[in-house]
C-alpha cells in the first residue's frame, strides 16, 4: 500500500511531459513540436498548395471559376414584430415591451443590436439612455432596479453575453448617430433550428419625459462561418 501511494504521489507531483509526435509517409514528413498544457506550443505544417480535383479542374479551366455552396441548410431569421408600441408613459413607472428573434443556421449565428438615434420626440427632445444602478453602457450590462430613469434592454436566451448576469441586468443601446459600434447580443457556433432570443426593452421616464418618442432598433444577424 505505501508503495502504491508513493507511485501515485510521484505521478501527481511530476506529471509526464508532453512529447513531440512525428508522422511520416512516402510523400511527406510532419513533425509537431511539444504542446504543453497552458502554453501556446507550435505545431505547424509547412506551406503547401492543394490542387483541384479532376472534376473541379475541368470546370475551373472552362469557366475560370468554381462556386460551391457549402451547406444545404438555409439561414432563416424570424422577427416577431417590426413595430412595437409602449403603453402611455407614466413618470417614475417602468414600461416594458419585448420582441423575439428566432434563428436557424447551419453553423450558429451572431446578432448585433443598435439604435439609429436615441428615443426622440417629434419636438426633438430626447429620452436618454439608461445608466442602470451603477453605470451600465451599450457594451456592458449592470443591474437596473433603482428609480434611475432612461431607456435600455435586457435579454433572455440560451447564449447570453457574459455581462447579463441576471434578468434585471440591462444595457443601453449602441447609438449609431454617435458612431457607436453595434453590440453583440448573441454568438453561437453550433447548428441550430429556431434558436430564440428575447429582447426586453425598458423605459423608466422622468417627470419631464411626457411626450411620445420613437426610434429604429437595428438587428444585424449573420450566420457563423
Amino acid at each position: 500500500m505505501p508503495i502504491f501511494l508513493l507511485i501515485l504521489a510521484i505521478m501527481i507531483v511530476f506529471p509526464f511531459p508532453a512529447k513531440a509526435l512525428t508522422m511520416e509517409s512516402q510523400q511527406y514528413q510532419l513533425q509537431s513540436e511539444d504542446v504543453v498544457t497552458e502554453s501556446a506550443g507550435q505545431s505547424t505544417t509547412p506551406s503547401f498548395e492543394i490542387p483541384l480535383t479532376t472534376d473541379e479542374r475541368g470546370v475551373f479551366n472552362s469557366k475560370g471559376y468554381i462556386a460551391t455552396a457549402t451547406n444545404s441548410q438555409p439561414f432563416s431569421v424570424v422577427l416577431q414584430s417590426t413595430n412595437l408600441n409602449f403603453q402611455q408613459l407614466t413618470p417614475g413607472k417602468a414600461n416594458l415591451i419585448s420582441n423575439i428573434l428566432r434563428i436557424s443556421s447551419p453553423h450558429g449565428h451572431q446578432v448585433f443590436i443598435s439604435e439609429t438615434k436615441p428615443l426622440t420626440s417629434l419636438s426633438g427632445t430626447v429620452l436618454p439612455a439608461t445608466s442602470c444602478d451603477t453605470g451600465c453602457s451599450y457594451l456592458h450590462a449592470e443591474k437596473w432596479l433603482s428609480a434611475n430613469t432612461g431607456f435600455g434592454y435586457t435579454l433572455e436566451s440560451k447564449a447570453l453575453p457574459e455581462d447579463f448576469l441576471a434578468t434585471n441586468y440591462y444595457r443601453a443601446l449602441a447609438d449609431l448617430s454617435k458612431n457607436q459600434r453595434p453590440a453583440n447580443i448573441s454568438l453561437t457556433n453550433l447548428s441550430e433550428v429556431n434558436a430564440e432570443i428575447k429582447v426586453l426593452f425598458k423605459i423608466l421616464p422622468s417627470q419631464k419625459d411626457s411626450e411620445t418618442y420613437s426610434t429604429v432598433i437595428n438587428f444585424d444577424i449573420l450566420p457563423n462561418l
Partner: protein, 318 residues
C-alpha cells in the same frame, strides 16, 4: 331575408380578408441561401454568384448591399465593413434589383439574387471576403404612443480565393492544445476522476487561402481509447478557430472549450489532436496529457475504513 343573407356574406368575407393581417401582424421572416458561398477564381474572370432570398413574413421593403467583412475572435465571428472599395466591382444580373435601393419583397415570393463579380486581371492572388446583405426598412411609424420600429439586416458570406492555377495555399498549425488547470488546490495539473474535463483545441491558418478543416481528438489511457470527430470549421487566411465537438460541448461551452470529457479517468491520459483540410491533406498533430485521480473515492474509502476500525474497536471492547 335576402338583405340579411348578403349582409352575412359581406361580414364573412370582411373577416376572411382581415384575418391573415390580424394573426401575422407585421412579422418578419427572411430566409437566405446559401449561407456561405465559396468561390475559387482566376484573375480576369467574371464569376456569377447565386443567392435566394425568401420572405415568409409580411411584405417588406428590402435593400441588397455587398460589403466586405473581417474576421474577429476564435469562434468564426466577423465584423462587417462600412464601405466596399472599388477593387472588385459587383453588378446585379437582374434589372429588378439595384444595390442600395429598396424594393418590395412580397410574402412567399422567392427572389433570386444573381450577382456578377468582375475580377481585374491584375488582381492579387489571395483571399477576399464579402457579405451579401439583405436589410429591411421599417414602414412609417404610428403616432400617438412611444414606439420602436425594427430594421433587420441578414447576410450570407462570399469567400473568394483568387488563384491563376486553381491551387489554394494552406498552412495549418495548432497554436493551442490545452487541458485547462483543474481547481484542486496545490494540484492544478490533476483532475478529480469523476469531474468533467474540458479541452481547448485551436487551429490556425497561416496560408494565403481559407481552409475548411476536419479534425479529431483521441484520448488514450490504460483503460480506454476514445476518438471524437470535431465539427468542420472554416478557418480564414491569417486567423485561428476553436475547433469543437458539438455532441459534448453545447451552447455556451462551445465558445470556450472544444470538448468536455466525461467518464471516470484514473492515471495519465494522452490527448492527441489532429487537424487537416477537408480533403484530408497533410494532417497536423499535437499532443498533451492530463492526470486524473479519484480523490473523492479514495476519501470515501478512507472514511469507511476509519468508521470500520472505530466500530470494530468499540464492538470488541463491549
Amino acid at each position: 331575408m335576402r338583405a340579411k343573407f348578403f349582409c352575412t356574406i359581406f361580414i364573412f368575407f370582411t373577416i376572411v380578408l382581415l384575418l391573415p393581417k390580424i394573426s401575422k401582424a407585421d412579422s418578419m421572416h427572411l430566409i437566405m441561401s446559401p449561407s456561405v458561398l465559396k468561390v475559387v477564381a482566376k484573375p480576369g474572370t467574371t464569376p456569377h454568384l447565386s443567392f435566394k432570398l425568401e420572405n415568409k413574413g409580411d411584405p417588406a421593403l428590402v435593400t441588397i448591399q455587398i460589403l466586405p467583412f473581417t474576421p474577429i475572435g476564435n469562434n468564426g465571428q466577423v465584423v462587417v465593413g462600412k464601405k466596399l472599395d472599388a477593387t472588385i466591382p459587383f453588378q446585379p444580373e437582374s434589372s429588378s434589383i439595384i444595390f442600395g435601393t429598396p424594393f418590395l419583397l412580397k410574402s412567399n415570393s422567392p427572389q433570386d439574387i444573381s450577382i456578377q463579380m468582375s475580377l481585374p486581371s491584375q488582381l492579387s492572388e489571395k483571399d477576399y471576403y464579402f457579405t451579401v446583405l439583405a436589410s429591411t426598412t421599417p414602414f412609417p411609424e404610428s403616432e400617438g404612443s412611444t414606439a420602436l420600429q425594427f430594421s433587420t439586416r441578414i447576410g450570407s458570406f462570399v469567400l473568394l480565393s483568387v488563384t491563376s492555377n486553381g491551387a489554394v495555399e494552406q498552412r495549418l498549425s495548432i497554436p493551442l492544445l490545452s487541458v485547462p488547470r483543474s481547481t484542486i488546490p496545490l494540484l492544478s495539473s490533476v483532475y478529480e476522476s469523476s469531474t468533467a474535463i474540458p479541452l481547448v483545441f485551436m487551429a490556425k491558418n497561416n496560408g494565403r487561402n481559407f481552409v475548411t478543416t476536419q479534425g479529431s481528438v483521441t484520448i488514450s489511457g490504460w483503460n480506454q481509447k476514445q476518438k471524437y470527430n470535431l465539427q468542420e470549421a472554416t478557418v480564414l487566411s491569417g486567423t485561428q478557430r476553436l475547433l469543437i465537438d458539438g455532441s459534448t460541448c453545447k451552447s455556451d461551452c462551445s465558445k470556450t472549450y472544444s470538448l468536455i470529457l466525461k467518464g471516470f479517468f484514473i492515471g495519465k491520459y494522452t490527448v492527441t489532436a489532429s487537424v487537416s483540410s477537408q480533403r484530408g491533406e497533410r494532417a497536423v498533430t499535437a499532443q498533451t496529457t492530463f492526470v486524473a485521480f479519484p480523490f473523492k473515492l479514495i476519501g470515501l474509502l478512507f472514511l469507511m475504513a476509519l468508521a470500520f476500525l472505530w466500530l470494530r474497536k468499540n464492538l470488541v471492547k463491549e
